[in-house]
């Protein structure tokens, strides 16, 4: 297997219907690290993840996974190849129980007991509602289910779209720990996140998207250190606001 | 401005569409002058009546998202109302009026009952309940044959003014003798036009917008303060009344009413076909769908006859395009329509730049 980034996008364009949404995304996700994708609402972050997962087909440019081009490959093939996806709308199956939701994610059959235990300890609510239809979960609990589902089996690459939205601070703290643990197990993560604190405490590298284009790439350390850069790229003025 | 008012501000949003609708309207107006033969007139009148029927179904299906299979039942109430009144009271305008009122009364009661009882259940259940109600009424019509003439239907006569023998005035205009047939054609045309414009107004009113909202997301509509069941029932009743009036028109025009002209499931399917081919959630779609289907019904066979004769030596093909198989091709057209023009022909025209 080649060295180099686990996932790379070069000059990716994506259309949805007649709309030209992505207009040149360049991205490299190093193996074993966590890359954070930042950008304002409507910038094209979600579209980028969908394009990688195969839910949208790029109209131009290259998507490579382990060096192999995968642009336009069907999502199930990507999933079997080791990519897991936590969509923005969580994508849980409301009519299925929590258990069934998880069962579907464990494609190889039975759960690994340890891993399940680890996830259920991380998200205790799931244990409580194990046999309930996922539709009755609270907003945050659905979010937890979606994340747990993506992590139930070891995967090489996790694509996660805004995991912390709707989660209580306590859970977010716990999740930071969990992600650190994941990182130790060599799982690569591409994260879209608005919660800068969460992102900055986990991310190694960052890319900022605006108007369907990558406008900045660099390390997280660089970005956290440079307030001016933050201001320019992200308008991180929340602190001073209210 | 006047035009805009008549059309309730419902823009064509496509020059082709505007042209086609204008053409159809003009064609319907001058039709008797061009061809006062029975087939042409029958087609013209059928188009007018079905425009009302299909448009009223569009209010339900396209705008409110209610799938009902009982729409022709209301059409039948109207037709039988007028027919039974004319049959029993003799050919008078009073009979038509009374029949209409009685039919509207029945339609409103039945529509409110069905609406309140069952508009709360899931769409598919509602569809089944209406299907059940419609087949029940159909059987009723055939069992109450003293009243309805059963399968044979009722033949009756209409006020003198509408009979072929009647002359509105002596002499001709542009070569057309204004017989009662022509008078009743124009009567049908005018009433249909008015009903159509009324429906156009309603779907473009604030009420119409609420119907769209309910179709899209009834839960949220309720949360905004719209009482969904009330609106749905209102929409159902309104559409039922319009269908009833279309039924009256049909009864007066045909001078015959029977299950096959008014209530049968075949008409329900025709209505569906017309609506979908024309384009749902657009009143103009109803016009286009009705015209296309009627042209097909009256003339596609002739075309296929030619085709069959041309291919008579080939295997299977002449079988497939025998004139009797015109329904087959209509079915194919229909599938292609749902497939390729999900918004019907109107949607397609509007999509063109």
């Amino acid at each position: 297997m080649t060295e180099g980034p686990l996932l790379s996008l070069a000059g990716v364009h994506t259309h949805i219907g007649q709309y030209h949404i992505l207009q040149g995304i360049d991205l490299e996700v190093p193996r074993g690290g966590m890359t954070v994708l930042l950008g304002r609402n409507g910038a094209g972050k979600t579209t980028t993840l969908k394009t990688i997962m195969g839910l949208l087909a790029p109209s131009q440019g290259e998507v490579r996974f382990r060096g192999q081009p995968i642009g336009g490959r069907r999502p199930h093939a990507n999933a079997r190849d080791g990519i897991a996806y936590v969509p923005e709308d969580m994508g849980i199956f409301a009519g299925l129980t929590v258990k069934e939701n998880m069962t579907l994610a464990a494609r190889e059959g039975a759960f690994s007991a340890d891993r399940l235990d680890w996830l259920l300890t991380l998200f205790p609510a799931l244990r409580k509602f194990w046999e309930s239809p996922a539709g009755v979960l609270s907003g945050g609990q659905k979010q937890m289910l979606s994340i747990a589902r993506a992590m139930i089996e070891p995967r090489d690459l996790l694509l996660i779209d805004e995991p912390t939205k709707g989660l209580a601070p306590a859970i977010i703290t716990a999740m930071i720990d969990a992600f650190r643990e994941l990182k130790r197990s060599e799982t690569t993560v591409l994260l879209v996140e608005q919660n800068f604190l969460f992102a900055s405490s986990l991310g190694d590298t960052v890319a900022v998207v605006d108007d369907g284009r990558t406008v900045h790439r660099g390390t997280m350390a660089e970005l956290t250190a440079d307030a001016e850069l933050q201001e320019r790229l992200l308008g991180l003025s929340l602190e001073g606001h209210s | 401005m006047l035009m805009d008012g008549l059309l309730s501000g419902d823009r064509f949003r496509s020059p082709v569409l505007a042209g086609v609708i204008a053409l159809i309207t003009v064609a319907l107006v001058v039709l008797p002058f061009a061809d006062d033969g029975p087939r042409a007139l029958a087609m013209g009148a059928r188009i007018c009546i079905f425009v009302v029927l299909v448009a009223s179904y569009d209010v339900l299906l396209g705008y409110t998202g209610i799938v009902s299979f009982a729409h022709t039942m209301f059409f039948g109430f109207g037709a039988y109302g007028a027919a039974i009144a004319l049959d029993n009271m003799g050919a008078s305008w009073g009979a038509i009026g009374l029949g209409t009122l009685a039919a509207l009364g029945v339609s409103i009661v039945v529509a409110v009952a069905i609406g309140l009882l069952s508009l709360r259940v899931r769409a598919i259940f509602f569809a089944m309940i209406t299907l059940a109600a419609a087949s029940f009424v159909l059987i009723l019509a055939s069992q109450l044959h003293e009243f309805t003439g059963g399968e044979d239907g009722i033949t009756y006569s209409v006020p003198r003014m509408l009979k072929p023998a009647f002359k509105l005035f002596d002499g001709e205009i542009l070569g057309l003798r204004f017989s009662g047939k022509i008078v009743s054609y124009y009567l049908v045309f005018l009433v249909s036009a008015v009903l159509f414009l009324v429906m156009l107004r309603v779907v473009n009113s604030p009420f119409g917008r609420v119907l769209l909202a309910i179709r899209e997301n009834e839960f949220r509509a309720e949360a905004l303060g719209y009482r969904v069941v009330a609106y749905r029932t209102a929409s159902f009743v309104f559409a039922a009344c319009m269908a009833t009036l279309a039924g009256v028109l049909s009864a007066v025009w045909l001078r015959y009413t029977g299950p096959d002209t008014s209530m049968s499931f075949a008409i329900m399917i025709d209505v569906l076909l017309m609506l979908v081919i024309g384009g749902m959630a657009s009143m103009y779609g109803a016009i286009i769908g009705v015209v296309i289907m009627n042209l097909a019904q009256f003339y596609l066979q002739d075309l296929m006859e030619v085709g069959m004769e041309a291919t008579i030596s080939l295997p299977l093909i002449p079988e497939l395009i025998a004139p009797e198989r015109w329904l087959l091709w209509l079915g194919v057209l229909f599938i292609l329509c749902v497939y390729h023009f999900p918004a019907g022909i109107v949607g397609r025209l509007r999509g063109l730049k």
Partner: protein, 347 residues
Amino acid sequence: MSEAQDAAAGEAAAGLPPKRLRDIVEAWLPPLLVPLIVLVGLPLIGGLPQWLTLTLAGLSMGMMIFLMAAGLSLVFGLMDVLNFGHGAFITFGAFIAASVLVPLNAWVTAESLPLNLLAVLIAVAAAVLFGLAMGFLFERIVIRPVYGQHLKQILITMGALIVAEQLVPVIWGALPVSVPMPNAFAGTVIVGEATLERYRLLAVAFGVLVYIATYLTLTRTRIGLIIRAGVENRDMVEALGYRVTAVFIGVFVAGSALAAVGGVMWGLYREIITAHVGNEVMILVFIVVIIGGLGSLRGSLVGALLVGLVTNYTGFLAPKLALGSTLLLMVLILLWRPTGLYPATKT
């Protein structure tokens, strides 16, 4: 679905504070309905032989309807696809039975149960093959573009139905066709004073077989889960690594094959078939599927048996009501349980 919609739906199912007794009754009543009606029927009908005849006929008619409804229920319940074209598969199944059995006349008329049975099995196999092939095409051409859109499904499958019905006379000619009944199934079993056509026994056996096979497939495999999830969110199931498309085709094709088998059985029962033979029973089939609760196989079975019994009993007790009886049954059941006897989704 939005959270509050879920919540509202959940409320309906979960109900207010648990009332123990009521819960128990609610849970046990549906399966008990059939024996209950059979029991109530006896004093109403009066005579034991009449009651026995009607009950056996009702149950076996129910089984035949179930055979036709099973495919629809499967497709409807698992894939949420409302296939108005289902009737076309029944029709084609029946015509295929005729086409197979007529040339096999020697076997059909032979005085030998194995030969008779073999003839029927060949007809069934032909119908299954046809169902598989047509189902495949149907899914690709007609159904594929309209997953998740009920309205369009109704429309497009109706279009397909028209086409299919029109194709029958092109293929088989416009005259009614007779389906020869194999010798062994032609007679009647007489039990005391009660009678039962032998053919109905075959139908019951077939129905039970199909029920068990389908039930096992659905519970022993993950297919049910994948499909249910896929209906809610296809993309997500794909993203979990399943080839939803293939699974959906599989289920649809299986449903179509079942319909065709139902058609064979129905064609044999009707003896004379026309292009409308499938469509004629569709209202009944829809009613059964709805009474049962969308997509529940068990529900369809119970629903079909109920319909079979109720039509036979009312046909005997009050013939005027016979036709309305199924509709009435449906309305009553929907008033009691707005989502049918066995609602498939648990929310």
